[in-house]
């Protein structure tokens, strides 16, 4: 039956994330955003607490955290700074295909080192001319004996320059469409691999993003996840899971926006009273609360399905699409409640809006989410 009571451990996990977010992330978030600083020390501190790479299975030294537990962490960290959470989330995005499809040898080789220090992974699917149409990718994979040679470039890769290794999706046979896609783990420092940092982002400015240029990059065939041709399905199965943390992060941003708006509305006076006495403001706050609560429900349900061993593409897409749209709307209304003050950096709401815009775009735009949902309806 339905039960929304968190277990004692889940409450502790949430409390830990909340405390870390409040003490280590929130006080610095504005400065990181202003200077586009990558917060290496705070990522290391998160790793010390076990908050990094939570999806690594226990047999490889990780925690094998359940998806609902991960959602609790996501909401709390994103409450403090969505950009910071993206660093952690993008690493788990890199970890997930190795967990799903990696052999035990590959998991030991790639995953264990990530549990031994503040080390990141990355996931490289999008390309400069190709994002949502993942089957049309152009990065080439040529098989030469025991090696795979990669040529091409990958765009918008979170942690691209910082990651220990990145899962690169390439095509071994462009004529085969998505059946030609292969997923390969490429380690940092492999000759021919170059990361070009991308600057000038609207939001999530502390999360590093890069373009990866692959110029005759040779990796052993032992780095291929599954078989040649498995790559596309693996990418989709990965995203079915990792869209849930995007949804959970969106809930965190929405909740923060609501809290900021409620606080400001209690302090700001107009017509001789706090503006929260005005029904126009009260209704906005109520709508924001509806957004937070319903987005969390959709997120938790999708997470619960994963934890039941029944990951559901449509449920994940609904959660990601709905929560990120709801969070954007909530941040937008929170900014509006702040009036002119919302439009400047003095208050944190402008950053919420800039940050959460990306949640509607990455790991599949919300249009792609609707395609995924529709696919489950139209057979």
């Amino acid at each position: 039956m339905i039960d929304f009571e968190l277990s004692p451990e889940q409450r502790q996990i949430r409390d830990l994330a909340q405390r870390f977010a409040r003490d280590e992330v929130m006080p610095h978030a504005a400065a990181w955003d202003r200077d586009a600083t990558y917060p290496a020390d705070t990522v290391a501190a998160a790793a010390d607490l076990g908050l990094l790479n939570v999806g690594v299975p226990t047999e490889h030294g990780g925690l094998g955290l359940a998806m609902l537990d991960e959602a609790l962490v996501a909401e709390e960290l994103a409450y403090a700074c969505m950009g910071f959470y993206t660093i952690l989330m993008a690493s788990d995005l890199g970890v997930t295909p190795v967990v799903i499809k990696g052999t035990s040898e590959q998991q030991a080789r790639f995953l264990r080192p990530l549990t031994e220090g503040p080390r990141l992974a990355a996931f490289a699917l999008s390309e400069p001319d190709n994002g949502s149409d993942a089957a049309a990718l152009r990065t080439r994979a040529r098989i030469e004996g025991d090696e795979i040679v990669l040529d091409g470039s990958k765009m918008w890769i979170s942690n691209g320059a910082e990651a220990e290794w990145v899962v690169v999706f390439a095509t071994a046979d462009p004529s085969a469409g998505h059946r030609g896609v292969v997923a390969v783990v490429v380690e940092r420092g492999t000759p021919g691999l170059r990361a070009q940092p991308i600057h000038g982002k609207l939001g999530q400015r502390c999360a590093p993003t890069a373009e990866l240029v692959l110029d005759g990059v040779r990796v052993p065939r032992a780095n291929v996840l599954g078989e040649v041709g498995d790559g596309f399905a693996l990418a989709m199965r990965t995203l079915d899971r990792t869209r849930i943390p995007v949804a959970a992060g969106s809930v965190g941003v929405a909740r923060r926006a609501l809290d900021e708006a409620a606080r400001y509305a209690a302090e700001r006076q107009a017509f001789g009273a706090p503006i929260n006495r005005l029904q126009a403001i009260q209704f906005k706050l109520a709508d924001m609360a509806i957004n937070v609560e319903t987005a969390r429900l959709a997120t938790w349900r999708a997470a619960w399905l994963v934890d039941q061993g029944r990951p559901d593409a449509a449920a994940s897409a609904i959660a990601k699409c709905y929560a990120s749209d709801a969070a954007f709307a909530t941040a937008n209304e929170a900014l509006h409640v702040h009036g002119g003050y919302g439009y400047v950096d003095e208050y944190p709401v402008a950053k919420l809006l800039r940050d959460v815009k990306l949640n509607q775009i990455y790991e599949g735009t919300n249009e792609v989410m609707r395609l995924v949902i529709a696919r489950s309806l139209v057979r």
């Binding site: 004692p8 451990e9 502790q12 996990i13 830990l16 870390f20 607490l49 076990g50 908050l51 925690l63």
Partner: protein, 253 residues
């Protein structure tokens, strides 16, 4: 050796505490492990980490929800826990007597107790527990070092601080400055799942003191904001303190 650390769950300091018709209203309060008790858990862990072979037992007392506080201590690194489940409020002396039974049963050598409770604002539990056990105690402790069964502690006294030396057993009450408590890490939270939490009904005697009512302590304040530049605001402040509030003595130095 065995170290006990005594725990209590209290409303978070940010929680709203209201008084209505003489009774306390804590609706909506979130409960946390008392921060002063957290210093005690951390102190116990540090004794062990200094190379002492010690078992650390977290002992909570209070209503069933106190298991959260106890689990926090387990996740911080305590080895196992005992929860004395009972009413939310008892006279600290009565609680001390119940806890003394546990300390004796566990044959503990060292007990850490929070220096002051964030709900009952009481500093009595530590000294009362020591008295019930016939042990010495050190209160308001800001440093604690153990060498064999000899300890050296620094604690706050009325006009500064004092060093005390002695031998175990001892009850130590905590004070801010003793340490910086660690977070329970995610791996330790997962590990704590497998630790033993022994819940039993608290065997408490008759309270020696009862609470008969509550009242708010907020005072009416003037809440006058003085505007203008620093100079004129300061001048106006001095004038008002002298003439209106009458709290500045004329000699002033």
């Amino acid at each position: 050796m065995k170290i006990l650390t005594i725990l209590k769950q209290v409303p978070d300091a940010e929680s709203r505490v209201r008084v209505q018709h003489g009774s306390l209203d804590l609706t909506g309060a979130t409960y946390v492990l008392d921060g002063m008790d957290e210093y005690g858990v951390e102190a116990a862990l540090r004794v062990r980490e200094s190379g002492v072979d010690a078992e650390i037992v977290a002992v909570g007392y209070g209503p069933a929800a106190t298991d959260q506080a106890v689990r926090t201590a387990l996740a911080m690194g305590a080895d196992r826990a005992v929860l004395l489940e009972g009413d939310a409020f008892h006279d600290p002396l009565t609680v001390a007597l119940a806890l003394a039974d546990v300390v004796r049963e566990e044959a503990a050598d060292l007990v850490f107790v929070g220096g002051k409770q964030a709900d009952w604002d009481s500093a009595a539990l530590g000294p009362a527990l020591a008295e019930a056990l016939g042990w010495a105690h050190v209160d308001w402790t800001t440093a604690f070092d153990l060498d064999g069964d000899a300890f050296e502690a620094v604690h706050d006294v009325d006009d500064g601080s004092e060093t005390l030396r002695g031998r175990l057993p001892v009850v130590v009450t905590t004070q801010q400055g003793l340490n910086e408590p660690r977070y329970p890490t995610l791996p330790n939270i997962m590990k704590a799942r497998r630790k033993t939490l022994d819940t039993r009904a608290a065997d408490v005697g008759q309270d020696r003191m009862v609470v008969t009512g509550h009242a708010g302590t907020e005072r009416e304040r003037r809440r006058v904001m003085l505007d203008g530049d620093a100079r004129s605001a300061a001048g106006e402040l001095v004038r008002r303190l002298r003439d209106e509030a009458k709290v500045l003595r004329e000699e002033g130095r």
